[in-house]
Symmetry: C2
Subunit: 289 residues, 2 copies
Amino acid sequence: MTGRSLRLGAGGEFDRLRAMFAALGAAGRDLGDDCALLPVGGRRLAISIDLSLEGVHFRTDWLSFREIGWRATAAALSDLAADGAAPLGVLVSLGVPWNVQRATYLVDVCVLGLAARPVRRSGARPGDGLWVTGRLGGAGLALAGLRTGRGRRLAPALRRRFAHPIPRIAAGRWLARRGGRAMIDISDGLAADAGHLAAASGVRVEIELERIPRWPGVTPLAAARSGEEYELLVALPRSFGTAGARAFRRATGLALTQIGRCTSGRGLRVTDDGRRITPPRGFNHFGVS
Amino acid sequence: MTGRSLRLGAGGEFDRLRAMFAALGAAGRDLGDDCALLPVGGRRLAISIDLSLEGVHFRTDWLSFREIGWRATAAALSDLAADGAAPLGVLVSLGVPWNVQRATYLVDVCVLGLAARPVRRSGARPGDGLWVTGRLGGAGLALAGLRTGRGRRLAPALRRRFAHPIPRIAAGRWLARRGGRAMIDISDGLAADAGHLAAASGVRVEIELERIPRWPGVTPLAAARSGEEYELLVALPRSFGTAGARAFRRATGLALTQIGRCTSGRGLRVTDDGRRITPPRGFNHFGVS
């Protein structure tokens, strides 16, 4: 009658999630995006929930509690940004060890927002350009520094990038208004998230590694793998062009860089200076990638 | 810079929460109810989040995973019931041990609903009657049986009461429509939750212990202490009366029993056959009550 371990089926985290969604039939059809969307009183409510566990998503010897709370909230708000939604409210569950031997902290953040024109992962079309906000690799570089125990010597800007990420709310809303067709935030790593967007949209995504905007000292490959960056990856119609990117920078203060395109086909294709390479793997919450 | 243990201040769970709300100033004014309320497109959205942790809220040797999921979801939906809201959607965070030594499961459930006429904890007035749905003590009785290792011999109805609670959604909506002034679900125990309602409403709550509707074999004192019952405690105007209770039973199939009243004053007053007794303490998630 009672089980001691939960059977989730074979495969990695995403395979298991897909199997769960499939088991839900029609009710699971719209699952797997950054936010759930609910019509309420003629508006479109966007909701997301994001769990941060000590030892999996944070360490209390790397970050202060204030920073842990900020990161957990920013990660959840980043899902609203990826749908082009404006935040309405935040609900938080805290797990705090209390006179117990086994001390594990957790923060679970549920965010609610309104999306006038929600941008899903599934709207990219062949011919769209693929663009990314900001620059990538800082979070991964900081993490590498913290892992080798050199955390105290992280440059302040690098530490801030890791400990105090800024969810791209204004950027997401701007891109939604200006015709963004598909959008995802970079939490699993650019290559992995581009793969999610390609799968959801039913297109092939082609990325030119050398075009990825990077944090100083980060290789293109490391930038494509770095998780928890909380920048936005967005498919925009070809007409958007460099004039669009200039208008974006004026509006948000952020760079917007074309790193590839969507074509007909399936999956992810990555080139490095024109040579095709195996797509780098991303960040896997279930352990080794 | 980084801390190893979170300082929450002195006192029990509720003292600490009150101190946090006070620190938020005006932004924390409406906190502490079963649900947060958000106006969306002319409707009133009710939202709640409820965390269930292995070893604190459930044990995998007492319940199946299906039952653990049901209970966690029912507990969250019960908060919507206590506001008189109709459920719209559910978001779930799961923590599942994965190739790790330290195996702790968790389920965090965020529920969203619409409340046409939300009933808060704070609306009770002197003169209101205090009523409770269903009958109390079954969850505590089942828990006692499970704790002594006699879980396998629990009567099926008792086991169902514990493992498969039914959130009182229809009852909550009916009571909201029929003029319920203040409402709370019984998760911490009747006496403790009556104390919360009294504090939020600024009234004295008087309970006559012998009137509490009870699960067979449960003493009035045990019924007043039993937590995770997920019945509703509601303050109704005096005019509601026994005719109201009969109409409630016809509409919902549940009993509605008057167990006391609200008077001017503060706090909780409990009598047992007319003799005043010390209010029984409730269920405390932070450990010993």
